[in-house]
């Protein structure tokens, strides 16, 4: 029994790291631009379809396809922030909400028109391979996806800590008016941030096809899951998003094992309610 539970926990950790990467994008965007991206899951599903198409047409492995997809999503995010979202920065929350929910609806219905409602599986040659380490059986696909998620997250952390642009972006988050007054191009930095956030989602979506089949109905579930993760980890905290992702991944895996798989999201939302009530700033966030 202990070995089974250990296996379930390890699977949860690996899945949670990919969830965490997806939530990292949301956290970066909210932490800096102060806009809650309610179309987050929709972008993740677009990335899943992109990975599916690259695999089917070119035979490109989703773990490798994550790179060009992330680059493409960066451009999309940059343009989207510059053209559409910048005018809404600083406006009432419900106006931003309506804008992004509307965008999400357009994306989902567009995907339904193009691909239909059916699930599109990516049949990888190593989908059923696993590594045996003592009592542990680790899925190769999940392990690769989790490792790639960790690499992307590490690159992102390094970028925000070490690079000039990363520090400038953090300065915008820290003191917007001061940053603008001393010459930082806030709008360009916001566009960069949104691009980086969407690049994270793009990479996470591409990696997600190794775990789940692509279908438009996943979009809303992903958006809500990303919210749960960033609130549990701490909205705006990058490390919190990864920790939250792992926590949610493990709790869902355990709930699916001990109760019913269809009830696993219920535990995530229960955890969200508990965190909101007991520690609204999240496990690793700071009080505003």
């Amino acid at each position: 029994m202990a070995a089974i539970i250990l296996n379930v926990v390890v699977q949860g950790v690996l899945t949670g790291l990919v969830y965490g990467l997806m939530a990292l994008g949301l956290s970066v965007i909210f932490g800096i631009v102060r806009v809650v991206n309610f179309a987050h899951g929709e972008f993740a599903v677009i990335a899943m379809y992109a990975a599916f198409l690259l695999f089917r047409e070119l035979g490109l492995d989703p773990v490798i396809a994550a790179l060009p997809i992330a680059a493409g999503f960066f451009c999309v995010g940059y343009l989207l922030q510059s053209a559409l979202i910048n005018p809404f920065v600083g406006r009432a929350e419900h106006e931003q909400f309506i804008l992004l929910v509307g965008l999400g609806m357009v994306i989902v219905n567009g995907l339904l028109m193009i691909f239909g409602p059916d699930a599109r599986p990516t049949n990888l040659s190593y989908a059923f391979d696993s590594y045996e380490i003592g009592p542990l059986l680790i899925d190769k696909a999940r392990l690769l996806a989790a490792a790639a998620a960790l690499v992307v997250a590490a690159i992102l952390f390094t970028f925000f800590r070490m690079s000039q642009t990363g520090i400038a972006i953090r300065a915008c988050a820290d003191n917007l008016i001061g940053a603008a007054v001393v010459g930082l191009d806030v709008k360009r930095l916001y566009a960069l941030t949104f691009g980086i956030g969407l690049a994270c989602v793009g990479a996470a979506g591409a990696l997600m096809v190794t775990i789940a089949d692509a279908r438009p109905a996943l979009a809303q579930a992903f958006t809500l899951q990303a919210f749960v993760i960033v609130i549990v980890g701490g909205l705006g905290s990058m490390s919190g998003a990864l920790v939250g992702g792992v926590l949610i991944g493990v709790s869902e895996a355990l709930a699916g094992f001990f109760f019913e798989p269809s009830m696993k999201s219920m535990f995530s939302f229960g955890l969200l309610i508990l965190v909101l009530v007991l520690r609204p700033q999240g496990l690793m966030g700071r009080r505003a």
Binding site: V181, V182, G183, V228, S262, M266, L276
Partner: protein
């Protein structure tokens, strides 16, 4: 309600009256499809008023309104199927359950100071939690949903809402119009003005409602001078003047305060930048960004 009618221009009154006449007569000339679309429009207009009360008047962004719609529907339908309670009787416990759950979420939110985006997410969390929970309750139909059984012999019981399309059309129209009237009445009531006050100036409302004595005793000249002055005025005018439009203006202080804070910060930053042109020229981005980041780290 009368204020709504009184404040409407003549052209608006004419248009509203004409629209009402057209809608009342619609079943005479509209086909079944158009009527079904109109029923949906009335239904969503009614739901929209419920959201309008929350966001439009009280300024609370709720993204989980479907929770209350679903709870009301489940309670009324289960009472009908299991206990034989008609919809007119079932609506009372349905409203009560939806209201109690709403009050519990609101209490939880405000007790623990969950505001803005966090409050919106709390409402989503409760809605999703309940939705998934109901998917697993067999007595409520599980994931397939709960359906009222088809009973041919009861189809004519209009008093039990077992009628044709016309019945639902007029019921929907009555509900939508009733919701507009109720919202207009609430907006002009004492409660409506309290909601507006909470919307436009929550800090002062808290000062007035919870710490009236404290608000009055704040020493003059401290950092809260402006707030204290506003709170004093709000407390002074609070008692006799609910219902007056200008009373709300007094609560609209958040914008003033944020503007003055903005001017203060901008002024300081401008002075700082202009007194150090050599630093600005050499290290503009790097230095200021580092300074901002290190300031945040020190505070953290």
């Amino acid at each position: 309600m009368m204020a709504l009618w009184r404040d409407m221009p003549v052209r608006g009154r004419l248009l509203a009256g004409l629209l009402l006449v057209v809608l009342l007569a619609a079943p005479l000339f509209a086909d079944r499809y158009l009527l079904s679309v109109l029923i949906l429009i009335f239904y969503f207009a009614y739901l929209g008023q419920a959201w309008n009360l929350m966001m439009g008047l009280a300024g609370q962004l709720s993204l989980g309104h479907a929770l209350h719609v679903g709870l009301g529907a489940y309670v009324a339908a289960m009472l009908w199927v299991y206990l034989g309670w008609g919809p007119w009787l079932g609506v009372v416990p349905a409203v009560a359950v939806a209201a109690i759950v709403g009050a519990a979420i609101a209490w939880l939110g405000f007790r623990f100071s969950i505001e803005g985006v966090y409050f919106a997410l709390l409402t989503i969390a409760f809605a999703e939690f309940t939705r998934i929970g109901f998917d697993h309750i067999g007595a409520a139909g599980g994931a397939g949903g709960f359906f009222l059984p088809y009973q041919a012999q009861r189809l004519g019981e209009w008093w039990n809402l077992r009628g044709g399309q016309g019945l639902f059309y007029y019921a929907g129209l009555t509900m939508a119009c009733g919701a507009v009237i109720l919202t207009a009445w609430l907006k002009g009531s004492r409660l409506g003005y309290q909601w507006l006050a909470v919307h436009t100036g929550p800090t002062v409302v808290v000062a007035v409602g919870r710490c009236r004595e404290q608000a009055l005793s704040w020493p003059a000249g401290n950092r809260r001078g402006e707030l204290q002055h506003r709170a004093r005025r709000a407390v002074r005018d609070h008692r006799p003047q609910w219902g007056r439009q200008d009373h709300i203006v007094q609560y609209d202080r958040r914008r003033d305060r944020s503007r003055s804070r903005h001017d203060l910060i901008c002024g300081r930053a401008h002075r700082w930048a202009h007194t150090r042109p050599h630093l600005r020229a050499r290290h503009r981005t790097h230095l200021t960004a580092r300074a901002a980041v290190s300031g945040a780290q020190r505070r953290g």
